[in-house]
Each structure stands twice: as C-alpha cells, then as structure tokens.
C-alpha cells in the first residue's frame, strides 16, 4: 500500500481535528499548519503510527512574516518517510513577542543543531532544548539577524538612486 497525501490528511484530521489547518500541496508536498502547543504531539503521532512512520527529520528552519499579527514566526519541519518515500512539511506559527515552541530533540538528535541554528537566527525559544545557544553567530550577539527588521542594505540611504535597479 502506498502512502498517499489523502491518507495522511485524513489521519491527521481524525486525530487532531481543528489543531491541523491550512492543508495545501505546493509542488505535491503535503503542507499543513499545527497549533503551536501541538507540534510535538503531531511529530510524535507521525513518528509512532505504523502507517505514517515519518521518522527522518530532513530539515528544520523558520520564516519571519512581520505582517502576520501574533504569528510572526513560523517554524518549518520537513519530515521524510524513507520507506514509502513520502515527504511532508509541517508548520507551527509563534508570536514574536513570546516565541515558545516545544523542542523536537527528544525525538530526533538531528534537531539539536537545527534548533540551535533556528534560535540563532530567529530567536525561537525551543522549550526543553538541552543546550539552546547560538551555533553560527558569535555568542555576544544580542539580536536575531534573519528577522525581517534587519535589512541587508540601509533602505533609507539617499546617496544612491536605485530606482533603475528594481530596488525601489
């Protein structure tokens, strides 16, 4: 039996109901959003159920959406069922004022540095992480550089006319 997106969808909705939302399939990969306090439960569910068995954490990262009120930060998990060769993408939104999300280090050792990296760049506080400190940036850094409020170039500089270059 091959694992289909419909089956995963049905299983998730049956178990978690309204906590799983925004089910879409960009480029064929099932993508869904879970409530922030349910992320670990969903990860455990996807990991433990024999017919789902998403036991490989491919990637963990975050995205910053400053315009989304009270859910500015989005933690993105890419999970892979290596046997059935199916991938899913799971998202959990957190407010920038208190970005607490449960850690996945208990399930995946791989999550350790990935969460440290995500903390380093976005300031997501992974609750329960054994060693949540910066990994790529210097320890003394007091801001989270990948957030959108830190533009690469000073947007207000007036000594350069960038209109021709599509930089507005």
């Amino acid at each position: 039996m091959s694992l289909t997106n419909e089956h995963i969808k049905a299983r998730l909705l049956e178990r978690f109901g309204d906590a799983v939302t925004e089910l879409v399939e960009p480029s064929g990969m099932l993508t869904f959003t879970v409530a922030r306090d349910q992320n670990l439960k969903v990860l455990n569910f996807l990991n433990d159920e024999q017919d789902l068995a998403f036991r490989f954490l491919t990637d963990l990262t975050a995205v910053h959406y400053p315009d989304r009120k009270d859910e500015e930060l989005c933690v993105v998990y890419h999970l892979h069922n290596l046997v059935a060769n199916v991938r899913v993408r799971m998202k959990a939104y957190a407010p920038v004022a208190q970005p607490d999300v449960y850690t996945a280090t208990g399930l995946f050792s791989a999550a350790n540095w990935m969460e440290r990296e995500t903390y380093d760049f976005y300031g997501i506080n992974f609750v329960g992480h054994p060693n949540l400190k910066r990994v790529l940036n210097v320890d003394e850094m007091d801001y989270f550089p990948m957030r959108k409020e830190f533009p690469l170039e000073d947007q207000t500089r007036i000594d350069k006319d960038d209109e021709m270059f599509g930089r507005g």
Partner: protein, 408 residues
C-alpha cells in the same frame, strides 16, 4: 631550601587527571575552520565539544536580496569541493518553482557535470583519509585528475573552483569539442589512478587497522542524526536522492547504490570509493546517450525560457534588445512567481536541499539550504567519545566535513 615559586600552575591543575586540548579552529588536522575542545585522558577522548561558525557568511540573509542568478554564486561556496552539484541543484530549484522542463540532452549534460563533481568530491575525501592515516602519496597521485576535471569545468564555464556553472533551463553554451576530448582522456586515464589509490589503501594493513572499527555509528543513530549520503550508506541504509527522487533524468541510468555495514571509517571510505566507479559508469552512459542525439537535437543545450535564460553572449554584445534583456534578468527586473518548493539533490556529502519561498518579488522571500555537513557534524561528539585522538582526526576526514557547507 628556597621555595620554587617561579612556576605558577592554574588552580586545581595538579589534582586534575585529564587534559584539555583545544584543537583548531585553524589547525592542519582539522582540514578547515573547526574548533574542537577535547577533554583527554592520556590519548583517549572523554568529552568533546565542537564549535562551528567560523566562516559563516550569512548566505541565507544575502539571498533574500538577490535575484536568482546572483544566488548561484552563493551556492558555489557551500560545498566548494563539488560546486557544480550546488549550482545545478539551485537551478533545478528555480526550474521547479518556475515550472520549466528541461530537454533530455540538458539533463544528460548536467548528469555528466554532477558526476564529475561527485568524483572530485569523493577523491579528495578518500585520499585525505589516506593522508591522515599516514599515506601522502595517494593524495598527490589522484590530485592531478582533479586538475583534469577542473580543466573540464574551465572549458564549460570558464571557472575552476567556484564554478557558477549553468543557467536556469540549461547551460550558457554548448560543450565544446575540448570538453569531450578532455572527458575522454579522463575516462581513459583516471580509472588507472583510482586503482592505484585503492591498491595502496584498501588492503593495506596499516590503513586497515587505523580505519576499521573506528569512528563507527549504527544505522539507527545515523538516521536519528539526519545522516544522508555516503555516511548514511556506510551504515547500511540505501537512501540516495538520485534514486528516491530522480532529478535531471537520473531514472534513465543504470547504477548501483553501494552500502556499507558497520558505518566505520573503513566503510565510509569504501562506499565513496565504489561510488566513484558508479559515477564513472554513469558518465559513460550519459556520454553514449548524448552521442545518440542526431540533427537539431544534438545542439540543444538549454530549455526555451526567455524570461529567465540569459541571451547568447554574442547577441548581448551586438544587439540592443539582448543587452537590455540580459541586464533585466541579471538585475532582477523580472519578478519570480510566488510559491514554495523544496528541491533536493544528492550532493557529495548527502542530501543537499533548497527550501525556497517566493512571495512574487524579485528575490526569494526565504531561502534555506539544507546542508548535510551541518546536520551530521553534530554526531561527531558522540562518535569520537571514548576513542583515541588520532582516530578522531581520521573520523573527521572520513566524514568529509566541508566548512563552507557547514557554516553557509
């Protein structure tokens, strides 16, 4: 008797039974910028702490302000031992977002370049394992063939190390006869050098003793740690992106995925060695397939995507429209469509993933690189704990850590 107070030792150092050794960040044994703080009991490692980030260059942040073609140059600098794979992976990501399908000949040309890159990546790693076990000769012997591959890159794109090769939809120009001549020379001569390297190492008693049973990891732990690529296959898991999610027409080729058993340094070495032979076979198959294209098909080297494929260079220099068009693409005047894609390719070290979110602007809204090195290096502390210092160094080289890829 006067007091010997001219030597001052740190507090508590007399009673201490272990030694703290600060290995790196720049140390010949670390093959790059890594720092390992080791707690040693004699020569045995009791605890280790790895520190990374010494060459972090904020590529993901920079990419949020760069149009597609300006990001290709960033990908070069991830795993610089196999830059073309990164370039192709990035272009495949763009093509997935833009919905571009490439002609078969382009796919096969890409396969040739990617497999050449894989060979150079693996031959550096396997010969460096030899160097760390005390055999410098093999390294120098195969290195001349890496030079030959770099010459092939040079004929294709003009660059050697940071290649910036290819375009969205294909290549900037067709492969010249010089490419094919050099490729034939490589296919003819390289296997002999590779055999010499294997004759030097695979059954060598010293190498055998140094690598077997050291730096091993079980399949279970490796999967839990997110291992991919040769390091995962050395533990016995046959996961290969080329087979599981074929890109660039890998499904048209007949090749095997070598797997190991114990996940130790020797298995990692052997898996990479065998992969070199598989890559050679893939290159031969692709070359044969390319020779089968006849007529106008034999000159195809890019897909028809005028919005993103840069105009021919001679047109850019002589025609006004082509020049404007070139300028618009390079400077990011053409917006990319909104979307969210994840594209993985089998890099030299494992699954190299590109997670791209576009909001419809000129540059990605978010671009994340899944760097295999960064993910599996966190297992290093666990792998080397309890082993000898010299084994830790050989483990580091057999894991094939590339600082550029790890720190992005």
């Amino acid at each position: 008797m006067s007091e010997h107070n001219h030597i001052r030792l740190p507090e508590g150092s007399i009673g201490k039974t272990t030694t703290t050794l600060n290995l790196g960040p720049t140390h010949p044994a670390t093959h790059g910028v890594f720092q390992n703080i080791l707690e040693l009991d004699g020569e045995r490692i009791v605890a280790a702490e790895a520190t990374v980030g010494y060459i972090h260059r904020a590529f993901e942040k920079i990419a949020e302000r760069r149009p597609l073609y300006q990001i290709t140059t960033l990908t070069d600098r991830l795993n610089y031992c196999s830059s073309p794979i990164n370039n192709m992976g990035w272009h495949l990501t763009c093509e997935k977002l833009l919905g571009v399908t490439t002609p078969k000949r382009v796919d096969y040309l890409r396969v040739i370049v990617m497999e050449l890159a894989r060979i150079t990546d693996h031959l550096v790693c396997t010969s460096i394992v030899g160097v760390d076990a005390g055999a410098f000769t093999g390294f120098l012997y195969v290195m001349q063939y890496r030079e030959l591959v770099y010459e092939i890159y040079e004929e294709i794109c003009g660059a050697r190390l940071t290649t910036n090769m290819g375009r969205v939809g294909g290549f900037e120009r067709n492969f010249s006869q010089a490419v094919w001549d050099k490729l034939e020379r490589f296919l003819e001569e390289y296997p002999k050098a590779q055999k010499e390297l294997e004759a030097l190492l695979t059954r060598n008693r010293i190498f055998y003793e140094r690598t077997r049973g050291t730096g091993s990891i079980t399949a279970d732990r490796a999967l839990n740690y997110g291992f991919t690529g040769p390091n995962l296959r050395a533990t016995g898991v046959d996961y290969d992106v080329r087979v599981h999610e074929p890109y660039s027409s890998y499904q048209d080729f007949d090749f095997q995925i070598p797997v190991g058993k114990t996940g130790d340094n020797y298995d990692r070495f052997m898996v990479r060695t065998e992969e070199i032979w598989q890559s050679l076979s893939i290159i031969r198959q692709a070359y044969r397939k390319i020779q089968d294209f006849k007529g106008s098909e034999a000159d195809v080297y890019h897909a028809d995507v005028p919005e993103y494929y840069l105009p021919e260079k001679q047109d850019v220099y002589t025609k006004m429209e082509a020049l404007i068009w070139h300028f618009k693409i390079v400077m990011g005047e053409t917006d990319i469509p909104p979307g969210e894609v994840y594209q993985a390719v089998e890099g030299g070290n494992g699954e190299l993933g590109f997670y791209l979110i576009s909001d419809g602007g000129r540059a990605p809204y978010r671009l994340h690189f899944r760097r295999p090195c960064f993910i599996y290096y966190q297992a290093y502390e666990e792998i080397i704990k309890g082993s000898m210092l010299s084994d830790a160094i050989i483990t580091m080289s057999s894991l094939n850590l590339i600082a550029g890829e790890m720190d992005a």
